[in-house]
């Protein structure tokens, strides 16, 4: 199905992409000369550093914090590991277990002679290469199950798949308790959901470590931990087999631990990760340098594990009005794309987000939403588009809210969105109840079926409101990109050009964890991810 019938100025699109590439290039130079505590912890974790020590502090944090304190992190945590291996003749797992038991001691950080360490470095590289192969194998396992079962409704069940595209139905669970999440996710899958997202506890984005184990207490969501990922994926695998269709799983590679969570998602076969080049900066006040360096590494892992990323531009419309700020969404999508491509992600794995957030009191709001949705669909024809539901103007009147969600679903199916994050009519009241999700799925099923081919039947008036809205948004987006390219992205963010939020390059959380790569910086995982791995 092609949406190419929708008129968009190809020259402007070309200009927008070129500007976005220019904007990203400057930041990429910074990225390639820096590392972060989270990246170095990821390197250790890939080699089996997954234990926790005293007070449940992950061993990866203990080690990396100490390296940072001693000014040794610029050489890479893998350099340290090679030295300890050459001195103790132990495997990384054994070293990790010993630190978990008895903590750090000064001897772990005394330098060794170069020759021994060189040999150990080769060993570390080889172990990392094996870990990367294992991640690839996990991805293949997932893709095989996906291929065998298929995604979306089975033939003969529900609307006929051969008639026009239909957005995948994405719902969230957020009980705070992973075991309750499983019950709700399974019920949602049975009621027709295609993708389950487990919302994280609100505090987690600012934690500079990843908690370990299954968790049963969270606020506004459930902690992202590797064990929670495993529990949910196992339940969804079983339910997928039973239903005969593959149910996808989403979590968040955002906040201060983007790379580590990407690794955990890759190990536990997640399908999607929310991952944005600027979200943490703008909405969680995480330092921009930290975020830029971390997002690159996490996206490299997603590329290896073929995890689809989803960007978070929809959030811009929660602070700024959609009517005047939608072009910031589009500009940011181009920038996110320009960061994702050099990280090895093909367009099919770059999911771009936007939202249905125009004030329903505005005349012809439905047409304006259509113009925006068709524009985004057309600008990124090979990328999945993630369409977020109305939340800002969701009333307490759930019946009115249900109607608003119906209109959102209508725009979603008529404009060929790929993933529809289903709206909840109880959005403004509570985290979704099981029945809210059920009703929301019914709403989407009805609208997706009833308006299945609407997008193919309609030709928009060349100077009508829909086309004019799209044209106006693209023009403003190009103008904004020009401004950003001129100033540089870091300055642009510090002047509040996105989401009306101002963040300075040296402000925010996590800057202390950004370190310049030293001479002889050793990161065998990055070598693997960037295709410099030594195939043994």
């Amino acid at each position: 199905m092609s949406w190419s019938g929708f008129p968009v100025d190809a020259e402007q699109v070309r200009v927008a992409r070129a500007l976005a590439q220019r904007i990203a290039a400057e930041v990429l130079r910074f990225i390639s000369s820096h590392t972060t505590v989270s990246i170095e912890r990821t390197v250790l974790r890939a080699l089996g550093f997954d234990s926790v020590g005293a007070r449940a502090t992950p061993v990866a944090n203990l080690v990396v914090d100490e390296l940072l304190r001693r000014g040794l992190l610029g050489a890479g945590a893998a350099s340290w590991l090679a030295q300890v291996m050459s001195r103790t003749d132990q495997t990384p797992r054994e070293i990790c277990a010993r630190i978990a038991m008895s903590g750090l001691h000064a001897g772990l950080f005394s330098p060794v002679e170069q020759g021994g360490a060189d040999k150990a470095r080769d060993a570390v590289s080889e172990l990392t290469a094996r870990a990367a192969l294992e991640l690839g194998a996990r991805a293949e396992q997932r893709d095989a199950l996906k291929g065998e079962l298929g995604v979306g409704p089975r033939p003969g069940v529900g609307p006929r798949p051969e008639v026009g595209p239909r957005p995948l139905k994405y719902v969230i669970v957020a009980t705070g308790d992973i075991h309750d999440d499983v019950l709700q996710a399974v019920a949602a899958a049975q009621a027709g959901a295609d993708i389950i997202a487990v919302i994280r506890s609100t505090a987690q984005s600012l934690l500079d470590y990843v908690p370990k184990g299954a968790t049963r207490e969270g606020f506004g969501g459930t902690y992202a931990t590797q064990e929670n990922f495993r529990i949910m994926r196992e339940a969804l695998d079983q339910e997928s087999q039973r239903l005969g269709r593959y149910i996808g799983l989403t979590n968040y590679s955002s906040g201060l631990c983007m790379p580590e969570i990407a690794l955990m998602g890759a190990i536990e076969r997640l399908d999607y990760l929310l991952n944005d080049a600027m979200y943490g900066i703008l909405f969680r006040d995480i330092n921009m340098k930290r975020t830029f360096v971390d997002q690159y590494f996490s996206r490299r892992i997603c590329a290896l594990a073929r995890i689809g990323i989803m960007t978070g531009e929809d959030n811009y419309l929660t602070t700024a009005p959609a009517l005047t700020a939608f072009h910031t969404v589009v500009a940011s999508q181009f920038i996110n794309e320009a960061f994702a491509r050099p990280a090895g992600l093909p367009p099919s794995l770059i999911g771009l987000g936007h939202a249905f957030q125009i004030d329903p009191a505005v005349d012809d709001s439905l047409l304006l939403e259509l113009g925006q949705a068709l524009l985004v669909r057309t600008l990124f024809p090979d990328s999945p588009i993630k369409y977020m539901p109305p939340t800002k103007h969701m009333p307490g009147d759930i019946f009115m809210g249900y109607l608003l969600d119906g209109m959102f679903n209508l725009v979603g199916v008529a404009s060929g969105q790929s993933v529809q994050l289903l709206g909840m009519h109880t959005e403004s009241i509570h985290n979704p109840f099981l029945m809210d999700r059920f009703l929301s799925l019914k709403n989407a099923d009805y609208v997706f079926c009833a308006a299945r081919s609407l997008g193919q039947e309609v030709r928009w008036a060349p100077d009508g409101k829909v086309v004019r809205r799209a044209r106006e948004v693209l023009e403003l987006a190009v103008a904004l990109l020009e401004q950003v390219a001129q100033k540089g992205l870091m300055t642009a963010i510090s002047e509040g050009l996105f989401a009306d939020v101002k963040r300075s390059p040296d402000g925010g959380k996590g800057l202390g964890g950004v370190v310049a790569r030293g001479e002889g910086y050793f990161n065998p995982l990055l070598d693997q991810l960037e295709g410099r791995g030594d195939p043994r």
Binding site: A187, D285, M435
Partner: protein, 258 residues
């Protein structure tokens, strides 16, 4: 419905006094005749009569979604209810600014935050940020206010320390996440910390959020509560009224002492 001078109401469907209500819920059991009967029984125990199950359908394999109608015999005398309401005059931004200029010899200092794990600043931003909400300018726009918006995930100690260091006249706390009653726990701890710091009598303390109302805020020890749909000018007007009221009668400085 007036009876013996009382003002009695019942839920209204299409005939005064019919007590008609609509109800929807889920039972954690597979959809079946037994589930339908269980729902009727459940609604009867809630005090409903003439129950009509409009739909009972499977929400997944082990849950049943229901919509029921019924009639309740309950009636309420609305005159006997205690309903605290925020006392504040409706004023525009300019009226508030004029009042501050006339009544105070300095701008009033406001500090706002979402404390604890709550990262949702949409509420505090709607009230404080220049842009405001629903066409009503935020308090940062007011000439009469000096505003410090600390944003989300602020710890209580920092909030109180800032209140002290800038000499706050009013504190605005926003709580959006309400899972497992966390908004009440957090709000209570803020009031306790303000009291401990000895600031409670000097400072007007306001709670806001989609699940907040004035009654709840008073119960938790705040001076006022503002819920969904509140415009910044309403908050502004309350702050000025409350500060003026305290100046006149310091004895009623804190509602906890009433």
């Amino acid at each position: 419905m007036k009876k013996d001078g009382a003002n009695i109401v019942k839920a209204y469907g299409d005939r005064l006094g019919d007590g008609a209500v609509q109800l929807s819920f889920t039972l954690p059991m597979a959809c079946s005749a037994r589930a339908r009967e269980a729902a009727i029984c459940y609604a009867q125990h809630m005090g409903l009569k003439n129950i009509n199950v409009a739909t009972a359908e499977p929400a997944g394999d082990s849950h049943t979604f229901l919509v029921l109608y019924g009639h309740s015999n309950l009636s309420i005398d609305v005159d006997l209810l205690e309903v605290p309401e925020v006392r504040a005059t409706e004023r525009s931004m300019h009226e508030v600014d004029d009042l501050i200029a006339r009544e105070f010899d300095r701008p009033l200092v406001l500090v706002g935050a979402c404390t604890g794990t709550d990262a949702h600043t949409v509420g505090i931003d709607a009230i404080l940020n220049m842009k405001g909400y629903a066409g009503d300018y935020g308090l940062e726009c007011y000439a009469g206010f000096e505003v410090y918006n600390m944003g989300g995930q602020v710890c209580v100690e920092e909030f109180v320390a800032r209140a002290r260091s800038v000499g706050a006249d009013a504190l605005l706390l926003s709580k959006v996440v309400t899972q497992r009653g966390v908004h009440k726990k957090d709000a209570t701890s803020v009031v306790a910390a303000i009291q401990e710091a000895g600031l409670r009598e000097r400072v007007v303390v306001i709670l806001g959020g989609p699940r907040v109302d004035h009654k709840l805020a008073l119960e938790l020890g705040f001076d006022a509560g503002f819920g969904r749909g509140t415009r910044p000018s309403q908050v502004a007007s309350f702050i000025v009224d409350e500060l003026m009221r305290r100046r006149v009668d310091p004895a009623v400085a804190s509602p906890t002492e009433e």
